[in-house]
Symmetry: C2
């Protein structure tokens, strides 16, 4: 098994000003390359701590990747720490210098000494091209271990990884014959973790070779079955058997496309040439944003209405004044009018509406914070379903958008009763 450690460098990560998304992304990439991510550490912009952490982690890992601290400002000290760790000097990399000069010329900007410092790399290192920014990645091979230093800006980090590092790691792998971890993930939607456990935990008990993990998120629970590749031949049949049992037990909750809900939804609608319009109140555009996250979404998404105020509900989507007066903006009737009218206005196959009390204010005894009506409309019928989610505004908005998508997906796919 090839082991890797990820080191994220930056006080902003430790004190929580920035959420570390890089380590998760790298973990995903390394896992998909069959590398075992053994530890992931976040440390301060502190030369001593950087050197100490690299030393310690390189004892038990074959690949060390750092992110952060390669920028043009003074708090970026990763390169100096790396050079010091390997006992070498920083030297100017001519290819990177040329890249920097061209990068600034193309943009009509004047290059300064600060920028040119980005061409300095440890003398034992190779510079990795950064096609979307100025700081190059740094690659050092030492004692048959691989060291990579990447910028902290996610798109630069990703671009350098995708254009360089995965090839280097694949080469490295081909020289080593060991076990690799492999995971199989089953995506579900519309069912909670404890209900899943009730249905399938006996399979977990029965199968020692397979490691079960349950990963809840707002869009649904993923079930991950983990195995060690060297045993693959022995347990191939067991795995297939377990997987098929899990799918049977969770039938109408399984995302058949084996993808996150929004990807599966888009794929399914495209394959049926269906399209959709939305009407959003408390989510304020979050459902539309979700539906347009993927390339190709114009094939299924026509547009929608953000009807945040009552005035907007009446003027943009003709919700009846009497409906608002008699039942309120958060009601079955309003959700149905919104879903039906957005569908009719945009002449789509489906209309999906969300109206609720996201909180923290606005709740009443009858309609507490977390009360959300989701409306679904097609040419045959319009229905609305009530949910009472949580006390937290963000959570209620996230749950609302994913539940709307989940309901329509499961209605279309498995013909569930609303």
């Amino acid at each position: 098994m090839i082991n890797a450690a990820i080191i994220a460098i930056g006080d902003e990560l430790l004190i929580g000003e920035t959420i570390n998304t890089n380590s998760a992304w790298l973990g995903q990439e390394l896992t998909s390359l069959g590398i075992n991510v053994n530890s992931s550490v976040t440390i301060s912009d502190n030369q001593e701590q950087i050197i100490g952490t690299i030393s310690k982690l390189s004892e038990i890992n074959d690949i060390i990747i750092t992110t952060g601290g390669l920028g043009p400002t003074k708090d970026d000290i990763t390169k100096k720490a790396i050079a010091s760790h390997f006992g070498v000097d920083l030297i100017e990399d001519q290819k990177t210098k040329l890249h920097l000069l061209n990068y600034f010329k193309r943009r009509g900007r004047v290059i300064t000494d600060i920028h040119l410092e980005q061409a300095l790399i440890p003398s034992c290192a190779v510079a990795l091209d950064n096609s979307v920014g100025t700081a190059p990645g740094i690659f050092i091979k030492h004692s048959n271990k691989l060291y990579f230093n990447l910028p902290g800006v996610p798109r630069e980090m990703k671009s350098i990884f995708q254009e360089n590092i995965n090839f280097i790691i694949n080469d490295y792998k081909s020289l080593i014959t060991e076990d690799f971890f492999i995971y199989k993930t089953i995506y579900t939607t519309g069912i909670v973790e404890s209900e899943i456990a009730k249905r399938i935990s006996y399979l977990d008990d029965e199968n020692d070779t397979i490691k079960f993990a349950y990963l809840p998120s707002y869009s649904g629970v993923r079930i991950r079955l983990g195995i060690l590749n060297s045993e693959l031949k022995i347990i191939e049949n067991i795995l297939a058997d377990v997987e098929s049992k899990v799918r049977q037990h969770l039938y109408s909750y399984v995302i058949e496309e084996e993808k996150p809900l929004n990807e599966a939804f888009q794929e399914y609608l495209i394959s049926n040439r269906w399209n959709i319009a939305v009407a959003e109140s408390c989510t304020g555009g979050a459902l539309g944003k979700l539906l347009t996250e993927l390339s190709g979404s114009s094939k299924i998404f026509e547009g929608g209405f953000i009807v945040y105020s009552n005035k907007a509900k009446q003027e943009l989507l003709n919700v009846q004044k009497s409906t608002l007066e008699n039942f309120g903006a958060v009601s079955e009737q309003t959700a149905m009018e919104l879903a039906n009218n957005c569908r009719l206005k945009l002449k789509t196959d489906f209309g999906l509406s969300i109206t609720g009390i996201a909180g923290p204010n606005g709740g009443t005894k009858e309609k507490p914070v977390g009360t959300v009506w989701i409306g679904i409309s097609d040419s045959k019928e319009t229905k609305a379903i009530k949910f009472v989610f949580l006390k937290n505004r963000d959570a209620n908005r996230e749950l609302s958008k994913f539940t709307a998508l989940s309901l329509l997906y499961r209605k279309l796919k498995y013909n569930i009763e609303l």
Copy 2:
């Protein structure tokens, strides 16, 4: 200085299936309590690794907080590891058991043995109430160090921290007299990191007692000035002086409210009793979602139109057919019609529109991927400004929504010329 370490437990974090937001949140809370977050580590659901990491980190830290692995499923093994680390057994906590029984009764659900296992805690521990879920937090005080084990579900983790742990830590602090780190953050918008460095890096060079950090994000760059509290009296004047110079150099780019852009924007519009409508094409609702993220947003946000298709642009917002034919959907003219017409339809003070090519497809030589027009309209004038952002869809959508907000904020606040 009181040092803390955060340990996030879970294979899903290491392999990147889930992004670790807990550690950032905890880092923020601890920092605001004056605690120095010394390291943040992510490790596997592996008993040996959990015990080893806790042992190692407790050598150099006063507070150890773990998240994850307290759930009802079999892969959740944190409690066993903790008990083993302290050489004690797991015992049933009566208060937690009662809480569990009530929790299930209130929801009309049947409690199972799996759920009741959540009442087991190490015999040397105190259970911390979980008011939003079933797994209690665990608190152990040992050799004058504090150990906390929290569930991995963010809202449960946060609730236990806010209702229990910050009080425990404050008590602990009051018994110890040491230095605390303090940070001062200056928020900017509309200016890049290297331009900021050009203007103020001399201040960084001049002031050794103050640590400068530049934190770029899509909404702008935050500048953080860091100091050690014990020296506060000596450098109070220096800090005030440096901060005021930074503000001068970056005048019309500074967010005066000292808050993230969207919070400052909402506060500023509320104080002027202004409201806004949006029209979004490539962002698909992201701007509306951003504008409704905070409680109280109904005071400034009326609603909007998600005009993803050309049909939607024409039918919902009366964009002229000739405009689309002669100039295209991504054009100054279309952006202006969208901004103006959404403002008129919803009778708001301002209309903000976004139309662009988010990518990865749809670019041409004249309008490459990343081309975005942002329209701003009020009763006096309607203008549109062109940007050419990046090649990445997510980045283009994020940059579009924040740039739209940044432009309107700076136009209103500093009267910048569009």
